[in-house]
Amino acid sequence: MAKVKVLMLRAPGTNCDFETQVAFEMAGAEVDSALVTGLFRKEKHLTDYQIMIIPGGFTYGDDISAGKIMANEIRLRLGDDIRKFVDDGRLVMGVCNGFQVLVKARILPGFDGRDSQPMTLTANDSGKFECRWIYLKINEDSPCVFTRGMHRLYIPVNHGEGKLVASPDILDRLNVVVQYTDATGNLQAGYPHNPNGSLRDIAGICDPTGRIFALMPHPERFLRWTQHPRWTRENPRDTGDGLQIFLNAVAWAKGI
């Protein structure tokens, strides 16, 4: 059977492409990468892939606001293609900067069309870039196909603008997939467990189909046990927590 094909969509400043590629390859997929402008030039075609991911980074320096310029490129020139891509049953994922891009391109949260942006990701309450490992609780009722069968995650965050903000009624409607907790799984644990001050501790969401998923933390940075910050003092495990997300995505994509 042919391998699942993944397209990593880059823009100048994308910088998590290496570990993202490693993650999908470990999950058995084949990975290609293209600049957004490469898609405009039709050098690559979305339809050749089952999964599209926007990796982390600082696209266009995150100038103006994180992910904004790449988001506009996508919204104005690729929005319909991506909608069609997902309507065909394919998967879209965004990590960190990719989450910021998908929100600002109005592809997430994926309800009420794309005329306006109902939510945002903005500067961390701490005012700092935060590089730390955090605990996540997975919403098992979420339609998200990436997190099926999963309950908890321990992976790093590395961002300066990850605070999710929206009005209460929008928050009520969001398809929340992952939330920040303390080590024992409690919500509302405060900083630094919630590293950015996200409302309702939300770390990642999906669209109503469950096929567009994005989150601020980095599952692609915990694939091997020795990436765990305490691997020298805890009982070893075969793989890192993050790998399952990529395995799930590839398994789903095989059925497309």
Binding site: V22, M26, L35, G61, I64, M119, G127, T226, Q227, R230
Partner: protein
């Protein structure tokens, strides 16, 4: 011109404003009750109202948390307003992004963009207080100014009309030559006279650009003339310090895994047969002193280009940074004139390095921060980058005659003009003025794009040589590459950020983010297409010739014609006098305190020892997914790891260890032992995390005072000699290095010299990163061993420092014994017998034990009576806090006791205690009395509190 103001809505908190409020409070100013920040964008062009509305709504303002106006909003009642803009010629990278973003919206009427920052401050704020806030926080006059009421920012740039400038030096007398040199070329009279002779022989006057080229090539920064000088120290004559010490180690050890040393931008060693790794550490001290953010950002930006420009190009995989500042609590009132407060420098440097390094996607894995009042006027900013490349690409390329000179990446502006010569001179209170064009704001995304594209071009074999364009700009880069062939450049072809640059400014500009490639004409179309697809600027500016001349043209006019041999080899070896004598400091005279808890806490709280978590967490140390031992380790991910371990290849366990050694305090006694200790420290950190001495490469970075002063030079000679003596025995070659001299700050009559500072960075290759050992205690009941003899070596120690002494008995290094000991420990760790290991440095046994205990969330009991001594010591406090080198604490499970001890037989070691679960550090003296009984929570708090900003 249209104006847009964007700010965070009242109902949302603005972390930037919160941070500024806190910084104002930190100044001791309580008058400010509230702050708001407003981003200002000034757009030039014939822009309609509806276009402006679209730009605000769709691009500049966040629809949820921000609001905007197209008008200049007056200051609200009761608020003071300050608007700050960059000085003309200083480019804010945001401007380019805004322009692109507007074009993406389909709007093409905007011709230019400038940004500014508006601050609104509420409270009972006097003019004087406002001025103080501006000076200390909001404005750095080197790059910024307060926008006045009347000022209209002009977006038009100047024009430049060619006119060849010749400098008639043929008939100048000595005084006139020195007048010419001062503040422009920083060359001495003898050097100026050699230049004069050269042009006398040619019977013509040099052009300005010819003199600039020679001055840059001959600057201390580029040619390291002090290290190559013939130095007389007493009866001893040292002919070329570099060759006779640092490089000699490498030559004598002749390691087969050293692939390219001391000839390229970074030193290269073999990694695993398939890949090679290279490492370079640079300093960016002077720019960071006057503009910390921009100076430090361009420092890391510059060192990243070194591995990229090494061999045929390598991929940067890890950064390190080491900073030296004045004390953060230094009184504002006592600051020397013209000096920025160390806290501001620290914050600015941290932000600059983080913003650049994080955006480049390179993990910052290792570093250190040190403080001393003598760094007030001259902070030190060391930035290092490790690169990974296929092994067959590790050698520097060679261009052929006819290859084209292609400049890639950033455009050229008036940035950094005279940066190199500036770096080679001393700072004084006017430095801010003369250096304003020497400092620039980095643009990491331009560099990131160039990096990605160049590595693609490398893999396709599209260029024959690569060189970074750093200090000295095109002059230095083109000159260096062209030395073997000759080169001709048409300066008007260099892409400019704005019009108005003269041919000389184009040639010497140190604009960042530029690389130089030699490209065969047959490959030109392919490489230009690749760069264009990746949105990277690339331009042919000239061609390599075969006449060994440097020929520059501007619009068809020849502006320089120099003999490469004179430019590169015309500078004669310097003659220098050095002197050195052992200083005598008062010997400590205080009784041993009955309880040592307060002393231990005082050391843990010391700026140099305390937790640097505030810095570390703002750097991305996870990107690329390679980190195995992170900078923070232990039960709560916050203990101080010894060295970083990374696994760069996902399909191989082969590991890379990065560490550093630095301790300027020892240099106050003897720079020889300071250098020896720095090497020992870097090596024992490698050992402590599971490395071995088999495959370690060293880098040296000397930051010193003015080498024309014989005492400073004597210290330098001593330090370099120690580098040879110690490294050659340990079997660890140097592969690259750098020096930054003249780190002195003149305040009228006095010159404040930095303490002689040597940073030793180590890079080690290990077979299995999965065998790494962290420093945190793992399990109550395990045994604690000390390995290595303790001597009565309190000189320069932190313990004496907290009691107000320096002392004289500086820690020595006994490399024969040290090597044996390190090999033995490495074997036990390779066997998996060591659960935790921590090297002993500042604060000796006391600090290491405390750190191991609180990092593990466990207690520890140790008994000083068992500690093996190299000489008699009659004080318990000295045994606890001695900083003797080559010592380790190791945690071993009881069942491994026998095997561990057997493997260490023949080396000085002893079981001195055990890990406990009572959350206390308990220390017993030689007579069995309890010297210390402290809660690890308290100790950790003492250690974490100072830099919890």
């Amino acid at each position: 011109m249209r104006r847009i103001e964007v700010s965070v809505k009242e109902e949302y908190n603005d972390p930037r404003a919160d941070g500024l409020e806190k910084d104002i409070l930190d100044l001791g100013i309580t008058a400010v009750s509230r702050v708001r920040l407003v981003n200002v964008y000034l757009l030039d062009g014939d822009i309609s109202d509806s276009e402006l509305e679209t730009i605000c709504r769709e691009l500049l303002a966040d629809p949820i948390v921000e609001e905007y106006t197209h008008r200049e909003a007056p200051a609200p009642a009761g608020a003071r307003l300050v608007e700050v803009a960059y000085n003309p010629g200083v480019m804010d990278p945001v401007e380019e992004s805004v322009k692109k973003g507007i074009t993406d919206l389909g709007i093409d009427s905007v011709t230019a963009v400038r940004t500014a920052q508006k601050y609104l401050l509420w409270g009972d704020i006097s003019g004087e207080v406002l001025q103080s806030i501006c000076d200390k926080l909001l404005v750095n006059s080197v790059v910024q100014h307060v926008v006045s009421e009347e000022e209209r920012v002009t977006l038009r740039s100047a024009t430049y009309n060619f006119s060849l400038e010749k400098i008639d030096i043929e008939n100048m007398d000595d005084a006139a030559l020195m007048d010419l040199s001062n503040n422009r070329f920083w060359l001495n009279l003898a050097e100026m006279k050699i230049i004069q002779d050269y042009f006398r022989r040619l019977s013509r006057a040099p052009t300005d650009v010819e003199l600039e080229t020679i001055a840059q090539t001959w600057s201390e920064h580029c040619i390291h003339k002090t290290f190559k000088a013939r130095i007389t120290l007493g009866k001893e004559v040292v002919d070329n310090l570099m060759k006779s010490t640092i490089m000699r180690v490498t030559e004598e050890l002749d390691k087969p895994w050293c692939l390219s040393v001391f000839k390229d931008n970074a030193g290269v060693i073999d990694f695993d047969g398939r890949y090679a790794v290279c490492f370079k550490v640079e300093t960016h001290n002077h720019p960071s002193a006057v503009e910390p953010y921009g100076g430090a950002a361009t420092g890391i930006g510059g060192v990243i280009r070194d591995p990229l420009g090494t061999g045929m190009g390598s991929k940067p995989i890890a950064n390190t940074d080491v900073f030296c500042f004045g004390p953060p609590d230094f009184p504002h009132a006592e600051l020397p004139k013209g000096v920025l407060h160390p806290r501001r420098i620290f914050k600015g440097v941290r932000a600059g390095v983080a913003d650049y390094g994080n955006r480049m996607g390179i993990a910052t894995l290792n570093g250190a921060v040190l403080f001393d009042e003598r760094y007030l006027g001259n902070p030190l900013v060391f930035c290092g980058t490790v690169g990974l490349m296929p092994r067959h690409m590790s050698q520097q390329g060679r261009q052929s005659t006819g290859d084209l000179v292609v400049v890639v990446g950033g455009k050229t502006g008036r940035d950094g003009i005279h940066g190199v010569t500036f770096a080679s001179g001393e700072l004084n209170k006017e430095s801010e003025d003369i250096s304003s064009s020497s400092v620039q704001i980095g643009n990491p995304i331009v560099e990131k794009k160039a990096l990605d594209a160049i590595l693609k071009a490398r893999d396709l074999g599209l260029y024959s040589r690569i060189q970074d364009c750093g200090g000295g700009g095109l002059s230095s880069a083109v000159g260096e590459v062209g030395e073997t062939t000759g080169v001709r450049v048409d300066l008007e072809k260099v892409p400019l950020k704005y019009a108005g640059l003269s041919y000389t400014e184009i040639w010497v500009s140190e604009s960042q983010e530029r690389m130089l490639l030699a490209v065969h004409p047959d490959k030109l179309n392919q490489i230009m297409k690749l760069f264009s697809d990746e949105d990277v600027e690339a331009t042919v500016i000239g061609e390599f010739t075969d006449d060994k001349r440097l020929q520059l043209y501007y619009q068809g006019n020849q502006v320089a014609d120099l003999d490469m041999d004179f430019v590169h080899n015309g500078l004669p070896q310097l003659e220098r006098k050095a002197e050195w004598e052992l200083p005598r400091h008062p010997e400590p005279d205080f009784p041993q305190p009955a309880d040592l808890e307060d002393d231990l806490k005082a050391i843990l709280t010391a700026w140099n020892v305390c937790s640097k978590e505030w810095v570390i967490r703002q750097y991305d140390h996870e990107v690329q997914g390679g980190s195995v031992l992170k900078p923070l380790v232990g039960e709560a991910n916050d203990g101080p790891g010894d060295a970083a371990v990374l696994q760069p290849l996902p399909d191989s366990n082969k590991g890379l260890i990065i560490s550093n050694g630095i301790n300027p305090r020892y240099g106050d006694i003897d720079t020889y032992w300071m250098a020896a200790s720095a090497i020992d420290e870097a090596l024992r950190q490698v050992i402590a995390v599971g490395g071995n001495l088999e495959h370690i490469a060293l880098l040296d970075n000397f930051c010193w005072g003015n080498p024309d002063k014989p005492d400073r030079l004597g210290d330098l000679v001593r330090a370099a000699q120690a580098c040879y003596d110690i490294a050659v025995v340990y079997g660890t070659p140097f592969i690259s290095g750098k020096d930054s001299l003249n780190n002195e700050y003149e305040t009228g009559a006095e010159s404040i010299c930095i303490p002689p500072t040597l940073l030793i960075s180590a890079m080690a290759v290990v077979d299995d990163a999965g065998k790494a050992v962290s420093m945190d205690c793992k399990q109550a009941g395990n045994l604690i061993y000390i390995i290595g003899d303790t001597y009565n070596e309190m000189g320069g120690s932190h313990y004496l420092a907290i009691h107000g002494y320096t002392g004289n008995s500086v820690p020595k290094v006994r490399p024969q014994e040290g090597k044996k000991l390190m090999n033995a420990i490495a074997d036990t760790m390779n066997k998996g017998l060591v659960m935790a290991c921590h090297d002993l440095s500042e604060g000796g046994i006391g600090v290491a034990a405390a750190e191991m205990a609180f990092a593990g969330g466990l207690g520890m009991r140790i008994d000083l009576a068992e500690v093996p001594l190299g000489e008699s010591i009659d004080r318990d406090d000295y045994i606890l806090f001695s900083e003797s080198n080559t010592r380790f604490l190791a945690e071993v499970a009881p069942e491994d006791k026998e095997q561990f001890e057997k493997m260490l037989s023949g080396t000085p070691y002893a079981g001195i205690g055990k890990v406990t679960d009572n959350g206390k550090l308990e220390v017993y003296g030689r007579n069995g009395q309890k010297l210390l009984d402290a809660s690890i929570t308290d100790l950790k708090e003492a250690w974490q509190k100072p830099l919890r900003w």
